[in-house]
Amino acid sequence: MAAGRSGLLRYLWFWTALALMPLSVWAASWQILVIGLRDDPRYERKTLEQAFIGKPTGRPLVAAQIAMDELKDNLQDSGNQLKLQDLQWDGKSTSELLAEINKRKAQVLLLDLPKEQQKALMEVFGKITTAPIVFNISDSSDELRGASCHPHWLHTLPSDRMLADALAQWLAARNWRDMIVLVGQEPQDQILRDIWMASIKRYGLKVKAERKFVLSGDPRQREAGNPKLLTAEPAYDVVMVLDTVGEFAKALPYNTALPRPVVGSGGLVPLAWHTSWERYGAPQLSHRFQKLTNKQMASQDWASWVAVKSFATALDEEPKANLAQLLHNLRSSKTTLDGFKGTALSFRPWDGQLRQGIFMAHGQAVAGMAPVEGVLHPKEILDTLGADEPESLCKRR
């Protein structure tokens, strides 16, 4: 009875306080805006059907909604509320997009955009003083975390370098050091190649041969198109394939000249998320996602989920904080969060990247997780993956 009365009093007090509060101070409703690209080639029907490992399987809205629901009650108790909106941008006019962001009063953005569109938007934010908290949930380019970085920009999807370091650790731990590296012809393939070479160097792997491949059945191009010829010699432990498109890499396992594993963009692939991982509460999240979408949760979905979860966690920790304080708590690693990967995760202060473990997966299963056992770091073991503080190219911290 006593509990009921105090509950009623609290209820009345809450609404009285709400009525008395000036509107400008009342910042209880937080608008989270997911920005996608109209006619995004990543979501074309054919591309989705091909289901290349590591690629998104659809827009990441449901995953964001799951994270909203998880902490909803906590936030409500402290007078906060999250709202999720979706916006499809044509990818052209950043000023129009900015106007739309302002119109919708969005304080948190989840960028489901390719690299160039993300960069264009962040350049605009570089010129204005008040910017929202921006989560990159869909692009792994190191450039966004490095030379193009922005103090308001947080990245929940692991960078290419993190993925490369994870796999390099895995190979080094097994002493599978000798490799043939096959690189695609796309300009992005070359960027990826340079990143992977840095990891290969860091972990003492040996490139026995490096070759460019083409997607072609043309006998005149067989030296570069035939997987058997590409992988015939010299002797090697693994074939590393770097293919941003994914078609060649997908078909390479079991088509090599020697009976050796394929790693990189095909075969054993480093990923932010895989539904076969059975520990740390991961299956529950994957089930929740599967129930709502009838799909397997992909890395990009996890990145979307963890972005909302990061913001909600920061808000849950300091319900009265303003946007700048929340950003500071996130960016300074003060806020740590549970990403269902077994350890507390946090953002790196030097480039806004979310520290996290990486799964080594091969379609059906997860072979293991990086950082692998035995890898050491003077401060934080997760910082053995990706650009560590001294080597970060980010100037605007």
Binding site: N74, G281, Q284, T336, D338, G342, T343
Partner: protein, 326 residues
């Protein structure tokens, strides 16, 4: 046939007993370990000697004694039920159907009601054991886990791993009457015998939150530290407080150690190396031995409490979860 087995077991135990009696105060205790991927409860002698496996429902996890120690109730995550295992019969004899994916449960003092955390549904459901019917349910934060019933049976405590909080449910009104924010990813409970302190392990907080049950606030947080390890390596889950209320045992997860904690001063007395990812903990009847389940090395470490040393480690099936003794 049944008599013969009993006699044989008795003879075997007697033989083991003779060997052990000189070393430690020996009790006729058996050890029961739930093994998630074997769908079985493994039965061991108190020295770790394997006796047999009892087949159970799928993915057995938390266990509790029932029917005056003649039966074990075991939550089966993949069968959506609590299996009733009869020790003498050596098999599961009954089941209490539950919501989807039960993990931890606790019984009312009169043993008539089971309070079960239902992971998939984000709720705590109370079941009447005799009629096998749900009595009431209370919504919790996502992924409820630990459940504890106060000694007087009036309140039930439930952790929510995702919302980092402890829900307090009043049994009489069947409503949540309080919520206490604790550390990151709260997992399991232990309560001091006088009921004044409720301890909660925070897996990602590397800590134990100590709740003052009267004021329903966190009065202290016990942070674990281990030489040569970082905060992230310490992920406490399983925990118990001894019946005399003086000592708490906390499994430190990936730190592969178990901590002996002084309850009065909230300070760690010592840490003992066990196996990989220390998980569930159980104490034998006279408190002389601690059993530590190691989830990643699939084994069970037996610790001699007096000397604070691990005596030995024995296999414990695939993904062992909990341990209880009689």
């Amino acid at each position: 046939m049944q008599n013969f087995i009993c006699f044989k077991q008795l003879a075997r135990r007697a033989a083991t007993g003779l060997i052990l009696v000189a070393a430690a105060s020996f009790t006729w205790a058996d050890v029961f370990v739930s093994s998630e991927k074997d769908n079985a409860i493994m039965v061991l002698q108190n020295d770790g000697t394997f006796i047999k496996n009892i087949a159970t429902c799928k993915r057995p996890r938390h266990m509790a004694w029932a029917n005056a120690g003649k039966q074990i109730m075991v939550a089966c995550g993949d069968s959506d039920q609590i299996g009733i295992v009869d020790i003498a019969a050596g098999k599961q004899v009954d089941a209490l159907p539950t919501g989807e994916s039960p993990e931890i449960f606790a019984l009312s003092p009169d043993a008539k009601t089971a309070y079960v955390s239902i992971e998939e549904g984000s709720q705590m459901i109370a079941y009447d054991i005799a009629s096998k019917k749900p009595v009431f349910s209370v919504k919790t934060g996502a992924e409820p886990e630990g459940v504890l019933v106060a000694a007087d049976g009036k309140l039930v405590y439930v952790t929510s791993e995702v919302t980092n909080s402890v829900h307090i449910v009043d049994v009489a009104t069947r409503k949540q009457v309080g919520m206490v924010k604790v550390g990151k990813r709260p997992r399991r409970f232990a309560m001091t015998p006088d009921g004044s302190e409720l301890w909660v392990t925070n897996e990602l907080g590397s800590s134990v939150s100590i709740i003052d049950t009267a004021s329903r606030t966190v009065k202290d947080t016990l942070m674990f530290e281990l030489t040569g390890m970082r905060k992230n390596d310490l992920s406490p889950v399983g925990m118990l407080i001894t019946p005399d209320g003086k000592t708490a045992w906390v499994a430190l997860g990936r730190a592969n150690h178990v901590a002996e904690v002084d309850v009065a001063t909230h300070s760690v007395r010592k840490v003992i190396l066990a196996g990989k990812r220390t998980w569930g903990v159980g104490l034998n009847g006279d408190g002389s031995r601690l059993y530590v389940v190691n989830g990643l090395s699939d084994d069970l470490t037996i610790v001699d409490v007096a000397s604070g040393k691990a005596i030995k480690t024995v296999p414990a099936g695939r993904v062992p979860h909990s341990v209880i003794t009689n």
